[in-house]
Symmetry: C2
Subunit: 341 residues, 2 copies
């Protein structure tokens, strides 16, 4: 199946210097993928000329004159920049010219524009952001990572169900194990919302396993962990911040003097192996679940490898018909009515 | 000033094999500290006989016949075990025979028993758990770490104020910088509660700086970060879990073969320096703020060094009259009325 994906080339901290070579890498990896690079035509043509483009027949340019800033308010971006690379990329999905779009841009603007242009699936108020994160045993899918705050028990239930369908479709796992993030394992622990969500998930078409705590994220054999977006975002950013602190402290210590530098040189194979195992760039590409279409959010600071992973993630989600699967399961249950408001 | 602290010797994953030698270490470090070891007399006498007790005049034993289990429900522990080492240690604070107590036991039971026996300060419904955590620039005090869920804006404000008083008293910082944990830096980000709390803190007797995100925790120059206990607990446990995963992955990689083992041996000074800088055992000893007395919660898995740090933390809090300072500031403002319910 030929799959076409639109790329918001100006999104992210680095723009086209990352998104264009990453697009070429994704084309190399996926022979039936076509990409539409959405952005300022002259800049794009100049950047493309700097690379050896082996796939001219699978790569096209769609001009868009504006750029959404990383700190711009979602409503200003929506109202004021109708010809932004972000908006035009999403429009291509709406018009059926692309099956998905990828952006490393402003999360709030991407979320708001995607909701406005593509609309959510029946009964879903706001999409949820899902991403895989590395664990001791591989990875776990974690949602919501920041789109929804003050989620009700019904919305938490919906996250569990959508996460389960996503993993089932995208990873070919028969009965994904689903947990709820809490501050204790026992039934009596946590706030009223999470307790009520647990009861709802026990009676949902998912393999609900129970509560997990923050430290369980990395040791669990679960496939999906659901939580409110405020909590999920804080947990995800806590991971990013701590990993960053450990990495830079390690660098400082290995660079302290000639002896520590030598020991760092000798330990390089181990450091590289460690970095590979804990490398969250492999999992770059969070999906906005619950939309009528596939929208992938790349980390703003993604490098070429990470950004190409986000494109691959979009490719897989389209191939595995994630939005269609979610719509099918939700319409077969009464979940979509319950979470309307 | 002579300070007496009661130790719940049976609390924690390891009990007296940790708490007794840690008590002796704390006595060595603080010449005007006395300790009351609370627990089963025969076991305690036998354990003490295994050590060289140089401080018989500053160490006494208070018998308690029962032990609160780590997984026991707080209400069962409260109602059923009136002669537990935890309860008796808290009673000693109530009776004025100790100025503080330290326990590595069941957090829920400790919280419930401390509230019941000691009572909270006027207008405070539940104490908040505060602890320092290591950052790039030293450390930051973080609260609430799990005692309060669904905190209102007024309660978040109270956390900010109590955290500020704590740091002012305990660390001699004139005007501690206080931030609120959120999922964005801008005023419009986050849920309604955190936005309302920000407005309240702007009009409070603290140096309120603004919102911080999960990754800012480790790079910030703030002194206090306040958040709801659900969020704080998830963030703290996320740190613990990720640090554990990185440590065990590093061990695995250095133990892979003879060459990696050799490089690990050569890198040992760097690994040790790294471990020291990131060592959260230094910060063991979370304080229950808002009680009429000083109660310190040690991590359940604390080793001798970490547990002795928790005792030192209690010593400092008593010395710096933390509960008295909080009561004084709260009664001079209208905060205590607002958070009554």
């Amino acid at each position: 199946m030929a799959i076409s994906i639109a790329i918001d080339v100006h999104g992210g901290d680095h723009g086209i210097s990352i998104t264009v070579p990453a697009a070429l890498a994704a084309l190399a990896a996926n022979p039936d993928l076509s990409l539409i690079l959405v952005g300022q035509q002259d800049m794009l043509a100049a950047e493309l000329a700097r690379h050896n483009n082996k796939y001219p027949d699978r790569l096209s340019i769609q001009h868009a004159s504006e750029i959404v800033g990383m700190e711009e308010s979602p409503s200003a971006a929506m109202r004021g920049k109708k010809d932004s690379s972000m908006r035009v990329a999403i429009n291509l999905v709406k018009e059926g010219r692309a099956s998905a779009c990828v952006s490393a841009g402003n999360t709030g603007a991407l979320m708001a524009t995607a909701r406005f242009v593509l609309k959510t699936l029946s009964g879903i108020k706001r999409p949820a952001i899902i991403s895989a994160i590395p664990t001791m045993h591989g990875h776990v899918h974690f949602l919501d990572l920041g789109a929804n705050v003050d989620s009700s028990a019904e919305v938490l239930q919906l996250f569990g169900v959508m996460g389960s369908i996503f993993v089932q479709a995208n990873e070919k796992i028969d009965s994904p194990k689903v947990g709820l993030l809490n501050i204790g394992h026992e039934d009596v622990k946590g706030n009223e919302t999470v307790k009520a969500a647990a009861e709802l998930l026990k009676n949902s078409p998912v393999n609900y396993v129970g509560f997990v705590e923050g430290d369980d994220i990395f040791t669990t054999d679960l496939d999906v962990i659901a939580c409110d977006g405020f909590v999920g975002n804080v947990s995800l950013k806590t991971m990013e911040g701590l990993a960053q602190m450990i990495t830079s402290t390690m660098k400082e210590e290995f660079n302290r003097n000639i002896l520590t530098k030598l020991s760092g040189f000798l330990a390089m194979p181990v450091i590289k192996a460690l970095r590979n195992r804990l490398d969250n760039r492999r999992y770059n590409g969070a999906i906005l679940l619950g939309l009528r279409g596939t929208v992938i959010k790349s980390h703003g600071s993604a490098d070429i490898f990470a950004y190409s992973q986000a494109i691959n993630e979009g490719y897989r989600a389209v191939q595995n018909q994630v939005p269609e699967m979610i719509e099918k399961v939700l319409s077969a249950t009464d979940l979509s009515n319950k979470t309307k408001n």
